[in-house]
Protein backbone atom coordinates (compact mmCIF):
# COMPACT_ATOMS: atom_id res chain seq x y z
CA UNK A 1 0.00 0.00 0.00
CA UNK A 2 1.18 3.50 -0.78
CA UNK A 3 2.29 5.70 2.06
CA UNK A 4 -0.52 6.41 4.44
CA UNK A 5 1.68 6.96 7.43
CA UNK A 6 3.36 10.24 8.23
CA UNK A 7 6.19 10.92 10.57
CA UNK A 8 4.59 13.09 13.11
CA UNK A 9 6.98 15.84 14.12
CA UNK A 10 4.67 17.65 16.52
CA UNK A 11 1.79 16.74 18.74
CA UNK A 12 -1.70 18.05 18.10
CA UNK A 13 -1.45 20.01 21.33
CA UNK A 14 1.71 21.78 20.13
CA UNK A 15 0.05 22.64 16.83
CA UNK A 16 -3.06 23.96 18.54
CA UNK A 17 -1.03 26.04 20.96
CA UNK A 18 0.74 27.75 18.08
CA UNK A 19 -2.56 28.28 16.29
CA UNK A 20 -4.17 29.88 19.33
CA UNK A 21 -1.64 32.75 19.45
CA UNK A 22 -1.96 35.36 16.72
CA UNK A 23 1.76 35.83 16.26
CA UNK A 24 2.41 32.11 15.76
CA UNK A 25 -0.75 31.25 13.84
CA UNK A 26 0.95 30.85 10.47
CA UNK A 27 3.76 28.76 11.95
CA UNK A 28 1.20 26.51 13.60
CA UNK A 29 -0.70 26.13 10.36
CA UNK A 30 2.44 25.25 8.41
CA UNK A 31 3.23 22.63 11.04
CA UNK A 32 -0.28 21.24 10.75
CA UNK A 33 0.11 20.96 6.96
CA UNK A 34 3.43 19.21 7.34
CA UNK A 35 2.00 16.69 9.79
CA UNK A 36 -1.26 15.91 8.02
CA UNK A 37 -0.79 16.65 4.31
CA UNK A 38 0.11 13.07 3.31
CA UNK A 39 -2.61 11.36 5.27
CA UNK A 40 -5.24 13.79 4.07
CA UNK A 41 -3.96 13.54 0.51
CA UNK A 42 -4.30 9.75 0.43
CA UNK A 43 -7.69 9.83 2.07
CA UNK A 44 -8.89 12.31 -0.56
CA UNK A 45 -7.13 10.53 -3.41
CA UNK A 46 -8.93 7.25 -2.69
CA UNK A 47 -12.25 9.04 -2.81
CA UNK A 48 -11.67 11.08 -5.98
CA UNK A 49 -9.10 8.63 -7.48
CA UNK A 50 -7.32 11.05 -9.84
CA UNK A 51 -4.25 12.95 -8.65
CA UNK A 52 -5.27 16.22 -10.29
CA UNK A 53 -8.62 16.18 -8.48
CA UNK A 54 -6.99 15.13 -5.23
CA UNK A 55 -4.62 18.10 -5.50
CA UNK A 56 -7.55 20.54 -5.96
CA UNK A 57 -9.52 19.03 -3.09
CA UNK A 58 -6.52 18.94 -0.77
CA UNK A 59 -5.78 22.62 -1.36
CA UNK A 60 -9.43 23.54 -0.78
CA UNK A 61 -9.38 21.45 2.38
CA UNK A 62 -6.37 23.29 3.77
CA UNK A 63 -7.88 26.67 2.89
CA UNK A 64 -11.01 25.67 4.83
CA UNK A 65 -8.91 24.45 7.74
CA UNK A 66 -6.95 27.73 7.74
CA UNK A 67 -10.14 29.76 7.90
CA UNK A 68 -11.96 27.57 10.38
CA UNK A 69 -9.38 26.08 12.71
CA UNK A 70 -10.32 28.48 15.50
CA UNK A 71 -13.79 26.93 15.46
CA UNK A 72 -12.25 23.63 16.47
CA UNK A 73 -13.39 23.24 20.06
CA UNK A 74 -11.18 20.30 20.97
CA UNK A 75 -14.14 18.04 21.71
CA UNK A 76 -12.74 15.47 19.30
CA UNK A 77 -9.21 14.67 18.18
CA UNK A 78 -7.69 17.10 15.72
CA UNK A 79 -7.21 14.54 12.97
CA UNK A 80 -10.87 13.50 13.26
CA UNK A 81 -11.88 17.09 12.61
CA UNK A 82 -9.43 17.37 9.71
CA UNK A 83 -10.64 14.13 8.13
CA UNK A 84 -14.22 15.31 8.36
CA UNK A 85 -13.40 18.47 6.44
CA UNK A 86 -11.39 16.55 3.84
CA UNK A 87 -14.17 13.99 3.40
CA UNK A 88 -16.83 16.67 2.99
CA UNK A 89 -14.67 18.51 0.47
CA UNK A 90 -14.08 15.34 -1.55
CA UNK A 91 -17.75 14.34 -1.60
CA UNK A 92 -18.81 17.91 -2.50
CA UNK A 93 -16.26 17.88 -5.31
CA UNK A 94 -17.57 14.60 -6.72
CA UNK A 95 -21.18 15.73 -6.42
CA UNK A 96 -20.34 18.99 -8.14
CA UNK A 97 -18.70 17.06 -10.98
CA UNK A 98 -21.73 14.77 -11.22
CA UNK A 99 -24.10 17.80 -11.35
CA UNK A 100 -22.18 19.27 -14.24
CA UNK A 101 -22.31 15.97 -16.05
CA UNK A 102 -25.32 14.56 -17.89
CA UNK A 103 -24.29 11.04 -16.92
CA UNK A 104 -26.37 8.77 -14.67
CA UNK A 105 -24.99 7.38 -11.41
CA UNK A 106 -23.68 4.23 -13.13
CA UNK A 107 -22.17 6.33 -15.90
CA UNK A 108 -20.55 8.56 -13.30
CA UNK A 109 -18.88 5.49 -11.76
CA UNK A 110 -17.68 4.46 -15.20
CA UNK A 111 -16.47 7.99 -15.80
CA UNK A 112 -14.44 7.84 -12.58
CA UNK A 113 -12.86 4.52 -13.48
CA UNK A 114 -12.14 5.78 -17.00
CA UNK A 115 -10.47 8.85 -15.57
CA UNK A 116 -8.50 6.59 -13.23
CA UNK A 117 -7.22 4.54 -16.18
CA UNK A 118 -6.20 7.77 -17.90
CA UNK A 119 -4.45 9.15 -14.83
CA UNK A 120 -0.70 9.14 -15.36
CA UNK A 121 -0.24 8.73 -11.61
CA UNK A 122 -2.04 5.38 -11.49
CA UNK A 123 -0.55 2.16 -12.80
CA UNK A 124 -2.53 -0.45 -10.89
CA UNK A 125 -3.10 -3.88 -12.40
CA UNK A 126 -6.47 -5.20 -13.57
CA UNK A 127 -7.40 -6.38 -10.09
CA UNK A 128 -6.74 -2.98 -8.58
CA UNK A 129 -8.70 -1.25 -11.34
CA UNK A 130 -11.65 -3.53 -10.72
CA UNK A 131 -11.39 -2.93 -6.98
CA UNK A 132 -11.61 0.81 -7.55
CA UNK A 133 -14.52 0.33 -9.96
CA UNK A 134 -16.29 -1.71 -7.29
CA UNK A 135 -15.66 0.95 -4.64
CA UNK A 136 -16.98 3.74 -6.87
CA UNK A 137 -20.27 1.83 -7.20
CA UNK A 138 -20.88 2.01 -3.45
CA UNK A 139 -23.13 4.69 -1.95
CA UNK A 140 -21.15 7.68 -0.61
CA UNK A 141 -21.49 6.75 3.06
CA UNK A 142 -20.43 3.13 2.51
CA UNK A 143 -17.55 4.25 0.33
CA UNK A 144 -16.28 6.60 3.04
CA UNK A 145 -16.57 3.93 5.73
CA UNK A 146 -14.92 1.30 3.56
CA UNK A 147 -11.99 3.56 2.67
CA UNK A 148 -11.49 4.76 6.25
CA UNK A 149 -11.36 1.18 7.48
CA UNK A 150 -9.68 -0.60 4.59
CA UNK A 151 -7.00 1.96 3.72
CA UNK A 152 -6.67 4.26 6.73
CA UNK A 153 -7.24 1.52 9.33
CA UNK A 154 -9.28 3.91 11.40
CA UNK A 155 -10.84 2.35 14.53
CA UNK A 156 -14.63 2.31 14.52
CA UNK A 157 -14.77 4.39 17.69
CA UNK A 158 -12.94 7.28 16.07
CA UNK A 159 -14.89 6.88 12.87
CA UNK A 160 -18.08 7.13 14.93
CA UNK A 161 -17.00 10.52 16.28
CA UNK A 162 -15.99 11.73 12.84
CA UNK A 163 -19.15 10.65 11.05
CA UNK A 164 -21.45 11.13 14.02
CA UNK A 165 -22.73 7.56 13.71
CA UNK A 166 -22.84 4.58 16.07
CA UNK A 167 -20.08 1.96 16.01
CA UNK A 168 -22.63 -0.76 15.25
CA UNK A 169 -23.94 1.12 12.22
CA UNK A 170 -20.42 1.60 10.95
CA UNK A 171 -19.53 -2.09 11.33
CA UNK A 172 -22.68 -3.03 9.44
CA UNK A 173 -21.86 -0.48 6.76
CA UNK A 174 -18.33 -1.86 6.32
CA UNK A 175 -19.58 -5.42 6.12
CA UNK A 176 -22.18 -4.51 3.50
CA UNK A 177 -19.55 -2.69 1.48
CA UNK A 178 -17.13 -5.64 1.60
CA UNK A 179 -19.85 -8.06 0.50
CA UNK A 180 -20.89 -5.77 -2.37
CA UNK A 181 -17.31 -5.56 -3.57
CA UNK A 182 -16.91 -9.32 -3.49
CA UNK A 183 -20.17 -9.65 -5.40
CA UNK A 184 -18.91 -7.15 -8.00
CA UNK A 185 -15.80 -9.28 -8.57
CA UNK A 186 -17.90 -12.44 -8.91
CA UNK A 187 -20.27 -10.78 -11.38
CA UNK A 188 -17.55 -9.25 -13.53
CA UNK A 189 -15.21 -12.26 -13.49
Amino acid sequence: MQSTATNKTASDEQILELLRAEHSYERGFRLLMTCYRERLYWHIRRLVLVHEDADDVLQNTFVKIYRGILQFEGKSKLYTWLYRIATNEAISYLQSKARHSTETLDDTSNLLSNRLRADEWFDGDALQIRLQEAITQLPDKQRIVFNLRYYDEMPYEEMAVMLDTSVGALKASFHHAAKKIEAFFRETA
Partner: protein, 192 residues
Protein backbone atom coordinates in the same frame (compact mmCIF):
# COMPACT_ATOMS: atom_id res chain seq x y z
CA UNK B 1 -4.18 8.46 14.01
CA UNK B 2 -3.93 5.30 16.01
CA UNK B 3 -3.63 2.43 13.54
CA UNK B 4 -5.92 -0.51 14.00
CA UNK B 5 -3.96 -2.87 11.76
CA UNK B 6 -4.31 -6.08 13.72
CA UNK B 7 -7.98 -5.43 14.21
CA UNK B 8 -8.63 -4.76 10.50
CA UNK B 9 -6.53 -7.74 9.49
CA UNK B 10 -8.51 -10.05 11.71
CA UNK B 11 -11.82 -8.51 10.64
CA UNK B 12 -11.04 -8.79 6.92
CA UNK B 13 -9.71 -12.32 7.20
CA UNK B 14 -13.02 -13.38 8.71
CA UNK B 15 -15.20 -11.19 6.52
CA UNK B 16 -13.51 -11.44 3.12
CA UNK B 17 -10.23 -13.40 2.65
CA UNK B 18 -10.17 -12.15 -0.94
CA UNK B 19 -10.09 -8.46 0.13
CA UNK B 20 -7.60 -9.31 2.87
CA UNK B 21 -5.17 -10.73 0.30
CA UNK B 22 -5.77 -7.91 -2.14
CA UNK B 23 -4.98 -5.36 0.53
CA UNK B 24 -1.40 -6.54 0.89
CA UNK B 25 -0.66 -5.91 -2.80
CA UNK B 26 0.55 -2.72 -4.48
CA UNK B 27 -2.50 -0.55 -5.17
CA UNK B 28 -1.03 1.38 -8.14
CA UNK B 29 -1.54 4.90 -6.81
CA UNK B 30 1.41 7.28 -7.14
CA UNK B 31 1.98 11.00 -6.97
CA UNK B 32 4.53 13.36 -8.51
CA UNK B 33 7.92 13.48 -6.89
CA UNK B 34 8.29 16.35 -4.40
CA UNK B 35 4.59 17.07 -4.77
CA UNK B 36 4.25 18.12 -1.14
CA UNK B 37 7.17 20.57 -1.32
CA UNK B 38 5.18 23.11 -3.31
CA UNK B 39 1.87 22.46 -1.62
CA UNK B 40 2.23 24.95 1.22
CA UNK B 41 2.89 27.89 -1.09
CA UNK B 42 0.00 26.91 -3.37
CA UNK B 43 -2.32 26.83 -0.36
CA UNK B 44 -1.11 30.24 0.82
CA UNK B 45 -1.57 31.64 -2.69
CA UNK B 46 -5.21 30.56 -2.53
CA UNK B 47 -5.59 32.03 0.94
CA UNK B 48 -4.09 35.31 -0.29
CA UNK B 49 -6.37 35.31 -3.34
CA UNK B 50 -9.34 35.04 -0.96
CA UNK B 51 -7.93 37.84 1.20
CA UNK B 52 -8.09 35.51 4.18
CA UNK B 53 -4.43 35.65 5.21
CA UNK B 54 -3.87 36.62 8.82
CA UNK B 55 -1.35 39.37 9.39
CA UNK B 56 1.44 38.05 11.57
CA UNK B 57 1.79 40.07 14.73
CA UNK B 58 5.37 40.93 15.58
CA UNK B 59 6.46 41.26 19.14
CA UNK B 60 8.56 44.40 19.63
CA UNK B 61 10.63 45.81 22.43
CA UNK B 62 9.84 49.27 23.81
CA UNK B 63 12.74 50.76 21.88
CA UNK B 64 11.96 49.22 18.50
CA UNK B 65 8.29 49.97 19.14
CA UNK B 66 9.12 53.69 19.49
CA UNK B 67 11.08 53.78 16.21
CA UNK B 68 8.44 51.73 14.47
CA UNK B 69 5.81 54.24 15.54
CA UNK B 70 7.96 57.05 14.11
CA UNK B 71 8.39 55.12 10.88
CA UNK B 72 4.63 54.79 10.77
CA UNK B 73 4.40 58.59 10.60
CA UNK B 74 6.34 58.60 7.32
CA UNK B 75 3.71 56.72 5.46
CA UNK B 76 2.43 58.97 2.61
CA UNK B 77 -1.19 58.83 3.71
CA UNK B 78 -0.28 59.82 7.27
CA UNK B 79 1.93 62.66 6.05
CA UNK B 80 -0.82 64.00 3.76
CA UNK B 81 -3.43 63.82 6.51
CA UNK B 82 -1.09 65.56 8.92
CA UNK B 83 -0.37 68.37 6.40
CA UNK B 84 -4.08 68.93 5.79
CA UNK B 85 -4.67 69.09 9.52
CA UNK B 86 -1.88 71.66 9.91
CA UNK B 87 -3.27 73.89 7.14
CA UNK B 88 -6.77 73.65 8.60
CA UNK B 89 -5.50 74.54 12.09
CA UNK B 90 -3.63 77.56 10.73
CA UNK B 91 -6.73 78.71 8.81
CA UNK B 92 -8.87 78.48 11.95
CA UNK B 93 -6.26 80.38 13.98
CA UNK B 94 -6.06 83.11 11.33
CA UNK B 95 -9.85 83.45 11.12
CA UNK B 96 -10.15 83.89 14.86
CA UNK B 97 -7.48 86.62 15.08
CA UNK B 98 -9.02 89.97 16.28
CA UNK B 99 -9.10 92.49 13.41
CA UNK B 100 -9.24 96.33 13.58
CA UNK B 101 -12.73 97.65 12.70
CA UNK B 102 -11.26 100.32 10.41
CA UNK B 103 -8.39 99.64 8.14
CA UNK B 104 -5.47 101.68 9.19
CA UNK B 105 -4.11 103.82 6.37
CA UNK B 106 -2.03 106.89 6.04
CA UNK B 107 -5.03 108.86 4.85
CA UNK B 108 -6.18 111.15 7.68
CA UNK B 109 -9.83 111.14 8.66
CA UNK B 110 -11.99 114.09 7.69
CA UNK B 111 -12.48 114.94 11.33
CA UNK B 112 -8.74 115.16 11.72
CA UNK B 113 -8.33 117.77 8.95
CA UNK B 114 -8.53 121.32 9.96
CA UNK B 115 -10.22 123.40 7.30
CA UNK B 116 -10.75 127.07 7.20
CA UNK B 117 -14.35 128.21 6.74
CA UNK B 118 -13.42 129.49 3.28
CA UNK B 119 -12.04 126.11 2.23
CA UNK B 120 -15.10 124.41 3.58
CA UNK B 121 -17.42 126.75 1.74
CA UNK B 122 -15.48 126.32 -1.48
CA UNK B 123 -15.72 122.54 -1.17
CA UNK B 124 -19.43 122.67 -0.54
CA UNK B 125 -20.02 125.00 -3.45
CA UNK B 126 -18.07 122.74 -5.76
CA UNK B 127 -19.97 119.66 -4.68
CA UNK B 128 -23.29 121.15 -3.81
CA UNK B 129 -25.18 118.46 -5.68
CA UNK B 130 -23.74 115.80 -3.40
CA UNK B 131 -25.40 117.27 -0.30
CA UNK B 132 -28.92 116.83 0.97
CA UNK B 133 -30.93 120.00 1.60
CA UNK B 134 -30.95 119.27 5.33
CA UNK B 135 -27.16 119.07 5.37
CA UNK B 136 -26.92 122.37 3.52
CA UNK B 137 -29.31 123.99 5.97
CA UNK B 138 -27.28 122.76 8.93
CA UNK B 139 -24.15 124.02 7.27
CA UNK B 140 -25.71 127.42 6.87
CA UNK B 141 -26.66 127.42 10.55
CA UNK B 142 -23.14 126.47 11.52
CA UNK B 143 -21.75 129.31 9.43
CA UNK B 144 -24.06 131.75 11.09
CA UNK B 145 -22.94 130.56 14.50
CA UNK B 146 -19.32 130.92 13.54
CA UNK B 147 -19.72 134.38 12.07
CA UNK B 148 -19.15 137.34 14.36
CA UNK B 149 -22.37 138.66 15.82
CA UNK B 150 -23.03 142.39 15.06
CA UNK B 151 -22.31 144.77 17.85
CA UNK B 152 -25.69 146.25 17.54
CA UNK B 153 -28.41 144.12 16.36
CA UNK B 154 -30.23 145.30 13.28
CA UNK B 155 -33.57 146.74 14.02
CA UNK B 156 -36.39 144.53 13.24
CA UNK B 157 -38.78 145.71 10.68
CA UNK B 158 -42.41 144.98 10.73
CA UNK B 159 -42.32 143.93 7.16
CA UNK B 160 -39.87 141.19 7.76
CA UNK B 161 -41.38 137.74 7.76
CA UNK B 162 -40.19 134.48 9.13
CA UNK B 163 -39.70 133.17 5.62
CA UNK B 164 -37.27 135.90 4.76
CA UNK B 165 -34.22 136.69 6.83
CA UNK B 166 -35.35 135.58 10.23
CA UNK B 167 -32.48 133.92 12.13
CA UNK B 168 -32.39 130.18 12.46
CA UNK B 169 -32.34 130.59 16.21
CA UNK B 170 -35.92 131.60 15.97
CA UNK B 171 -36.97 128.38 14.30
CA UNK B 172 -37.70 125.05 15.95
CA UNK B 173 -36.35 121.95 14.19
CA UNK B 174 -39.86 121.14 12.96
CA UNK B 175 -40.28 124.61 11.52
CA UNK B 176 -36.91 124.41 9.87
CA UNK B 177 -37.80 121.12 8.30
CA UNK B 178 -41.07 122.53 6.96
CA UNK B 179 -39.21 125.50 5.61
CA UNK B 180 -36.67 123.39 3.85
CA UNK B 181 -39.37 121.21 2.35
CA UNK B 182 -40.79 124.29 0.67
CA UNK B 183 -37.52 125.40 -0.81
CA UNK B 184 -36.02 124.15 -4.06
CA UNK B 185 -32.38 123.26 -4.41
CA UNK B 186 -31.75 126.47 -6.39
CA UNK B 187 -33.29 128.61 -3.68
CA UNK B 188 -31.15 126.96 -1.07
CA UNK B 189 -28.12 127.49 -3.26
CA UNK B 190 -28.97 131.17 -3.57
CA UNK B 191 -29.41 131.44 0.15
CA UNK B 192 -25.94 130.16 0.62
Amino acid sequence: MKKDQSSIDRELRELSPFLHDLRSKEDGFHLPENYFDGLEEQVFQQIDALGARRKPVRTTTARTGFWNSLAWLWQPRVAIAFSILLVAAFAVWWMWQPKPSVIETNIPLASQIELTPEELEAYVMENVNDFEPEQLALLAIAEDENSEPPKTPAPKTNTSTRNEKSGPDDLSPEELELLLDDLTDEEIEQML
